[in-house]
Assembly symmetry: D2
Homo-oligomer: 351 residues x 4
């Protein structure tokens, strides 16, 4: 079969591989819709997870099942399915302890285009089909469905980790597709003021549409002073970090109140350490929590978030700024993610 792969660090291309083998609990799918992710870009061009040779890329997909293992209970060939980017081993100790995304080791619930071939191929393999696939709800927009692989569960996890409470004022730092989903998540989680930190016009416009009450442009001034001014010196109850870099936590700690939470869903790709400002952290005693975590994956998560789309509470398809057709479109879409043209939010490939 044909797949679009990382050939080595810094190089991508189309390769031929054997179609993956289906274990007794597994499924083999063909892609219906695909989307490239910033982490695909980091994997290839920043070598973020180390060297990989001829590994098919991609972890965001909607699929159709072409083969299922004999122990699979709930799915059959021909079923159209939501595919979670994170596909845990559900009987692992980590999953039993509530952290399925770290099953088998930290971050090891992330398997596509990390420990095995990804979804940018004619066929892809899903471990534990019953646990990690979910039925594609009838009539669901394919763009929305594709956002259920990673963008929406990751962005929503930012709001979950931050424990947004009714009336909280929140800053969301970074409003790429994940941060935009965090903004939307906060708005339907009961936040009041949402300060969206970003600069690109279509992202800031969509942030407002998703519920941001203010846009903070880091290009026009320090974000700490802007937010402290707008909150009359009080700061915010919670901060979600969905962009920036290691230094971002210096700012986040300054603007969050005692008793608040900083929640990170941004993969930190560089640097040895992440600095925390001692005084703003209350000399270690300010009850400002720092959290961060890989999205929870699996079937239940997909089903529950899908309900928010089918009931019209959320419209993740608005993230889709560019659409390509055919499997070969993933190449152009990935390059677009790498080059980040000004009007990009998220590309989609309809296969």
């Amino acid at each position: 079969m044909k797949g679009y792969a990382m050939l080595t660090i810094g190089q991508t291309g189309w390769i031929e591989k054997e179609r993956p083998v289906c274990g007794p609990l597994d499924a083999i799918c063909r892609p219906i819709a695909l989307a490239p992710c910033t982490s695909d870009v980091h994997t290839v061009w920043a070598g973020a997870i180390g060297e990989r040779k001829n590994m098919i890329l991609g972890h965001e997909a909607v699929g159709e099942i072409v083969e299922v293992g004999h122990l699979v209970r709930d799915f059959k060939v021909g079923d159209k399915v939501l595919v979670s980017a994170i596909t845990p081993d559900w009987n692992s100790l980590e999953a039993q302890g509530g952290y399925a995304m770290h099953s088998g080791g930290m971050l090891s619930g992330w398997k596509f285009s990390n420990f095995k071939d990804g979804v940018f191929a004619e066929y892809f393999h899903v471990n534990d089909a019953d646990g990690n696939l979910a039925p594609l709800p009838e009539g669901m927009d394919l763009g929305a469905a594709a956002m259920l692989s990673d963008m929406m569960p990751t962005g929503f996890h930012g709001a979950e980790l931050a424990e947004i409470a009714f009336g909280d004022n929140v800053a969301v730092i970074g409003i790429g597709p994940v941060g935009l989903m965090s903004v939307a998540a906060c708005a339907i989680r009961g936040a009041a003021q949402i300060y969206a930190v970003g600069s690109r016009p279509n992202c800031t416009a969509l942030a407002r549409e998703y519920g941001a009450t203010e846009v903070i442009n880091y290009r026009t001034g320090d974000i700490v002073s802007q937010i402290m001014e707008q909150t009359h010196g009080a700061g915010v109850d919670k901060v979600i970090v969905a962009g920036g870099d290691n230094q971002t936590f210096m700012q986040a700690m300054e603007i969050v109140k005692p008793g608040g939470i900083i929640s990170n869903v941004n993969y930190l790709g560089q640097g040895d350490t992440v600095p925390i400002p001692r005084a703003a952290w209350g000399f270690g005693m300010g009850h400002k929590q720092l959290r961060g975590g890989l999205m929870p994956g699996g079937r239940r998560r997909s089903e529950y978030l899908a309900r928010l789309i089918t009931t019209g509470r959320i419209h993740p398809e608005k993230l889709i700024s560019h659409t390509f057709n055919g499997l070969e479109g993933v190449e152009q879409a990935l390059i677009m993610m790498k080059d980040k043209p000004q009007d990009l939010i998220k590309p989609l490939v309809i296969v």
Copy 2:
């Protein structure tokens, strides 16, 4: 001063009383807006809290401060304020333990028209002004502001106790003003399907406007079978009880899933016991939690919920179906609450 009072069980009338005395931590307010509550009706005509003689009624108000104690830090004469229906003693053991509404004994954070005169008077007394008043945000609709005393914090507490999570399917049983606020709270807390159980046309219409996806009419069939049918036998993740009676928990336990929560914000006025169905409760082992609690009161609560109004997330003023003018309007408004005409949701009195 003049006040509208419960004279004895079953009788109300206007009385003259001394203006209340302001302690060093307290405030005396004159009402700007008032609203009667179903619990005023229960207090007078059902004798729900026992006998009271010549006690001024009312616990929902927006006020203007006319006197403050010398230890009050943050308020001054002339300030317009949100008044919480529940005004705890904040240094009590109960408050320190997270249950301020029970400061001094179960439910004893409820003082207006319970342990002291209420707000339906030319002047009313607020204990611990710094802890229990909040500034009236500039430009806030007075109807919305009055709903911050009780309707909104009580309805929202139903959603808090139920620990609504993203994508939960929820049933809200009872869609009077409190239940309608629970519907709205669920919708901005991340619920997916919201089954609103009620029958009156303007309530069901507003329930849909606030985010209910389905209306279940108990007059046209058993609500358990209707909800089980609509959920394909799965039941709902959470149930909020905002109406009905002691038997309602029999139904609630049937429709909630294992691992779910039944959250009550309805004052149960009659009967010795509340029956729970043994089998539906999983023989005591189904992890179906039963909770219920008086609304959290106080200043912080008022401020945080007020933010949801000022940011436009919620519109409690839509509850106001009838408006009266002048203090004397509280009489007509209360009688209306007692008689419950078909088109009533909530009356408001602008003083």
Copy 3:
């Protein structure tokens, strides 16, 4: 193979059956130690789970693996193992949602001697060996190990559901083996006063040894008045129900403080409804939570609780009041559980 079975409601006996078949994820074990449970008694003589014909009884066991499926990663033939009484399907929606014990339906994580043959046989079948077995720690007393199947995880779950906090005063109603484990759990969870409600001398003695500060004998007076007197009218912060019947919750609700929790781990075998006292529940508004749930099962749970034994924090082997030898001993042990002689706490069978 030979097994000790429920022949029909009210009858038990030894039967011959085929040795169970091992699926690819499963294990077949022979028993090393076994214990009968009150629920075996309820199953047979009260028909608590309905009719069952020739079903082998028992769900408390320590075993040795004699066969493993080819997909099992972590266990091999000859391994000695702790066997959880509850053996969930870990990829189910319920398990992904945190309620593995209800995987496949309420209480359906309970499979032994419910949906399939139990452990009182020459061989027994364990679904998902990696997820539901745990290595028997070297040198662990077999009596202690057998208590890890059900008594300890169930008793400890009572303390977990009650959310015991530092300094809480707690009542534990019922001090059979599960209640005794709840007492011990409270003591190592930071409770202060522990009121153990029971009457049998060896149980009350062991309750004190496990950390109870007071024993309340229900035979010498009403437990509500005894506990209210001892707490100077304040009541307790939490109540764990590990015995009694449906009426017990009437008492529990009277003695628990507003903001408190009643946690049930007692299987309620009879009656249509469980009555809750309306006034003591604060008319539905007292923030007195009612919870109850089947023990969490699985490997991680077994491993974490086992650590408390290997570090000497807890000594569940003290529950063992009678020991029998040989598989055939399960008959005598079960009859003893049924007859409840005065000096019984828990019988053990060493195979």
Copy 4:
């Protein structure tokens, strides 16, 4: 009156001051027992909270009330009382939100020897007597009682922030008096293995007595490699930081598992930033939470922790390694805290 004061940064001495004035909600106490704290040392000799002139030191005390304000409900002259080191404003927004220790601003619940004179004087002032004092239980050892001001609530808060669960393996870094209380707290909170990191013989001996299963001596090797070796590469579930410096979090993050918590109760006195290791933090996605907070103060906290002493669950008086007599003993005791002789754990002054 006479008091032992910080004269300026680096200098202490006895001074004469006016006896403090008692407000309507307050109490004036004379000390019965006192203890100096490491933070007194930091305040004077490291200038940790900035310059203070002639400020009486000390925040750990047991007292007797000599005067009460007229609004105080529950205390009277002559009552002996536990005094919390942290004395919040209970009606503040922060307290209403669950973070009373930050009432009026980050860390501002800490008033003694910070914003006002401390307890090392003939008389000291306590704001909000009802909210911040607790009755001294009859017969309680004065050393134990003095440890209820700060050592025990701070050490126990480490275990609370870490959310110790049954069977957790825990590392406690730093076993001065606070860390020793954290060890004891973990042991009665249900931890299994407790790795106590320290070196001084009497501290390590007491750590074992309080429940540590292993002592890790940082002088004999890297603590990360020692703990990873002892846990067979798994690391620990939780880490409590009660000593060390900003670099300690580098180690803590290495040894804690994904899904774990690092909880800090150590005041970080120096440096601009606290570095977090990017890779060990899972590139921001490992669900390793970082928390830290000032102890919760107030009356309820004192009463609940006191119960653990009166029921014999915990023996904080074992911390007292040296005892002095008379108010003037505070000088010697403080100098001892500064000089840290090898056999010091905690000095006590009986007045």
